[in-house]
């Protein structure tokens, strides 16, 4: 959207990448440099670990998923488009891994706490209303601990809305970056954010503040 920022980024990429920058690392990665791989892993594994942790319900899967993500990063580094932002590319791979996991879990059991996998993320007021009618987990709002409450409520958001909320609030990415990661238009990202926040507000009863 912001074409000046985009142009600036393109110009940066066109010049020789700074040593130790993501751009330089990905070039070395593509050439099979193992040292570069360690650096990429150390730069991103905490973020990716935490991103995945909030998206899957079974703790034991987190490490496996993180490994899958970085295997893919390593193997497909040669296909990385240097016009794009490297960190967004890593997140996109992580999100795809999470989606694969959701599908597998859904096939194994009717796991989904919220919308079925593949659902457009219920970007609609009507869907919001229907979800509100479903019972909240017992006593969730009476819990002493706000972060516990919030955790339950965020888990309860439709997958696609939850992804946007997590990337925005906890990972502090721009909406532009999130739209690249989620492979959807900026306007869709913004509406997912809006629906998610409105839902959390209702569930938390924030309005009577």
């Amino acid at each position: 959207m912001d074409s000046t920022a985009q142009n600036k980024r393109n110009l940066d990429v066109a010049t020789v990448p700074r040593p130790g920058s993501d751009e330089e690392l990905v070039v070395r990665l593509a050439a099979g440099d193992a040292g570069a791989f360690d650096q990429v892993f150390d730069r991103y594994h905490k973020q990716i670990y935490n991103f995945i942790r909030k998206q899957v319900s079974e703790r034991e899967n987190i490490e496996d998923l993180v490994q899958e993500v970085f295997l893919r990063v390593f193997k497909s580094a040669k296909n990385f488009d240097p016009e794009k932002k490297f960190s967004s590319w890593v997140y996109k791979i992580a999100l795809n891994e999470v989606k694969r996991h959701w599908k597998k879990s859904a096939a194994k059991q009717t796991y989904s706490l919220n919308t079925p996998v593949g659902d457009e993320g219920s970007d609609s007021e009507r869907q919001d209303f229907i979800e509100d009618l479903r019972e909240l987990p017992e006593n969730v709002l009476e819990r002493e601990n706000f972060s516990e409450t919030l955790k339950v409520l965020i888990d309860r958001l439709p997958d696609k809305q939850r992804t946007v909320v997590i990337l925005k609030i906890y990972h502090e990415l721009t909406f532009e970056e999130i739209s690249e990661i989620c492979e959807c238009p900026l306007s869709t990202v913004l509406s997912r954010m809006r629906y998610a926040v409105n839902k959390l507000r209702r569930w938390l009863g924030v309005d009577e503040d």
């Binding site: 594994h45 490490e63 993180v66």
Partner: protein
């Protein structure tokens, strides 16, 4: 910019990601409309609250090493030394 349109741009505004034109129009509306200004405050407060209640989980050195060595093993398994 009217009250309905504000809903579409409020998150851009709150996070400082509005375009120039959007920024001016949003600011202008918020100055004139108490309802939307209050709405913006509620949203900001909530976002803040959500942000502050969850710290990143640290990945232990053990966990880091375990993951990294599994990745390397699996790469080595697929691509025997060239």
């Amino acid at each position: 910019m009217d009250c309905k349109k504000i809903q579409d741009v409020i998150f851009n505004f709150v996070y400082g990601e509005s375009s120039e034109a959007e920024l001016l129009a949003t600011r202008d509306h918020l100055e004139k409309c108490g309802d939307c200004a209050r709405e913006k405050q509620v949203i900001e407060k909530l976002l803040d609250k959500i942000k502050n209640c969850e710290a990143q989980e640290t990945v232990t050195e053990d966990c880091r090493d375990r993951m990294l060595s599994k990745i390397k093993n699996s790469l080595a398994g697929e691509e025997p030394a060239s």
